[in-house]
Symmetry: C2
Subunit: 346 residues, 2 copies
Amino acid sequence: MKLRKRNVTIREVARAAGVSIQTVSNVMHNKSSVRPEIQVRVLDAIKRLGYYPSQSAQGLRQGASLTLGFLVFDPNPRALADPVHGEVIAGMNDVARANNYSLLIDTPSIRPEAPGEHFLRPFYTNRIDAAVITLSGTSDLHDAVIAELVEANAVFALLEREVSGDQAFCLLSTNAAGAYDATSLLIKRGRSRIAFIDSIQVWPAVEQRLQGYMRAMRAHGLESHIQVASSPDWTVEGGASAMQRLLNQTDRPWPDAVIGGNDLLAVGAMHAIRAVGLRIPDDIAVMGFDDFEFARYVEPAISTVHVPYYDMGRRAAETLIDHLQGKTVAERRIILPTRIILRRST
Amino acid sequence: MKLRKRNVTIREVARAAGVSIQTVSNVMHNKSSVRPEIQVRVLDAIKRLGYYPSQSAQGLRQGASLTLGFLVFDPNPRALADPVHGEVIAGMNDVARANNYSLLIDTPSIRPEAPGEHFLRPFYTNRIDAAVITLSGTSDLHDAVIAELVEANAVFALLEREVSGDQAFCLLSTNAAGAYDATSLLIKRGRSRIAFIDSIQVWPAVEQRLQGYMRAMRAHGLESHIQVASSPDWTVEGGASAMQRLLNQTDRPWPDAVIGGNDLLAVGAMHAIRAVGLRIPDDIAVMGFDDFEFARYVEPAISTVHVPYYDMGRRAAETLIDHLQGKTVAERRIILPTRIILRRST
DNA sequence: CTGTTAGCGCCTTCAT
DNA sequence: ATGAAGGCGCTAACAG
């Protein structure tokens, strides 16, 4: 193992400035008044030598790493490339930078693993002080993960997932209300046979969206038109196959609108609709959910319910940092508003 | 600043196992034979107590952080949400995990900044041992960044950017050849008036693509049909506006094919083409570059030149780690092959 | 207001 | 094969 080149240490700065190590430390931390002239001398030496305190040393001494983690629990190895995660990362990064925190990314595996490969390793090894966590897909193990996090007394924030107890921070969005409003809007525009596409892989946020959709249908006396098709997964192809099934029914008329559990599913539905020669939105209106970057670039641009993942990343990071710094954080449940974006598919 | 809860230390493990600290360390590192029975006793204690060595302490002692950085120099704050970066991150993460490294993300700002905010801070503070770096967009400052990296003796790999000297690792792809082949393919299929859309914001990789295109046109005696339209930026809208300009020319016939400097530009071109009632690919064939995830989902699915960003992330991380571990890395320039993906837009 | 002392958890060197 | 001592760079507590 090759060692890093030696960096400038506080001792060298002290010598260069002709003061004690302690004084340098005090200057760095704006501690109780160091004589101004000395302060200047030290600052000058710091800049001249290019001194930066060692993270390892500070971390060891203070028992904190000044690092936030973003932990993605997802069986899919490419999960990190998911645009939604990119949004969260961007948000966290902004806040972390502004607060002099670093950002560590990891994709722990939940399966039983060799010792030393525990999924809480970044916590246990003192690499991160707190984490934003997303539990993707379906897994019985998720509850175990949360339980262990709690038991380890970890500071963490969960994305789009509610959890009991007040150990965790939960970042939620108004999924149900967003779906309710989206459905109501379609109804107001004259649609009535509105279908919903979800997936057999349960996802709490989408569960809520489904509930919102059903509630809206019932509220408008349309319960007999409630229709849910389940995709085998969360992909465009899956959405297309679910839509096909809806279109192949012979015992009832086609839907005149469809809401996708997420944008990917909605895009798939659009493909299937066009494949049989139907027009969007004339014959069938399509609405997505998430508003990932590409929703506006498909044709026709998808109307969708915007979920503020970037802001979630920001708020989560802010909350975590506040908590770490001992500020009392008022709410452990933070609910961010969704927003309907109307484009051309409705 | 609240302190982390105290973790299990090596000392406690030693006591629990009834051996010396040293022995525990030896066991952890598979050092020269510890008596098997003792080994078992130690391992047992480690597992029972849930011991994980402190990253800060190890880092301090060894002068290494076992952490790789992904540094994105991009004026756009949302740059991290770029799907291309997501691919790189996913690739790096896989390799880092497999080698027991962590992954740190940062978006240093290049502009002159307060002391303590230097863009090499993650290096100087010993937070990372090496970094994969992408210099996005145009900037005179990029050369200065590289120079400073070299001077600081940093271990780093540059993405899609060639640099002289043998300090840096360069991860490149066959941009020119890919563009050459794509152009040739279009010609072989009977297209001749092939245009290229790039951007006024210079990007080395796209520069090479442009060169490949021009070389192919010349090689087939089509230099008089060479036509380049520049978008003001790298967005879909920019691509559309550039395409419009191409379509508004009155002094020469429309192109019968167009190659986008990247997929975003190509998608924009498709919008512009359809906006005037032309058909793809019948009237104008469209070809993209990058093959980001969504290329296959727009309609018609874009043919494109796949650039292996995920593999780049992997290879970059592998190379960096090998180098850090003292293995001699054969090549400082690693060139990954692009691959033409034919879909329905050509 | 400045300097000295001690120790965070770990690993390397030396001694046993 | 195992134990003791020292120090990586830093900061909190105390001493001057």
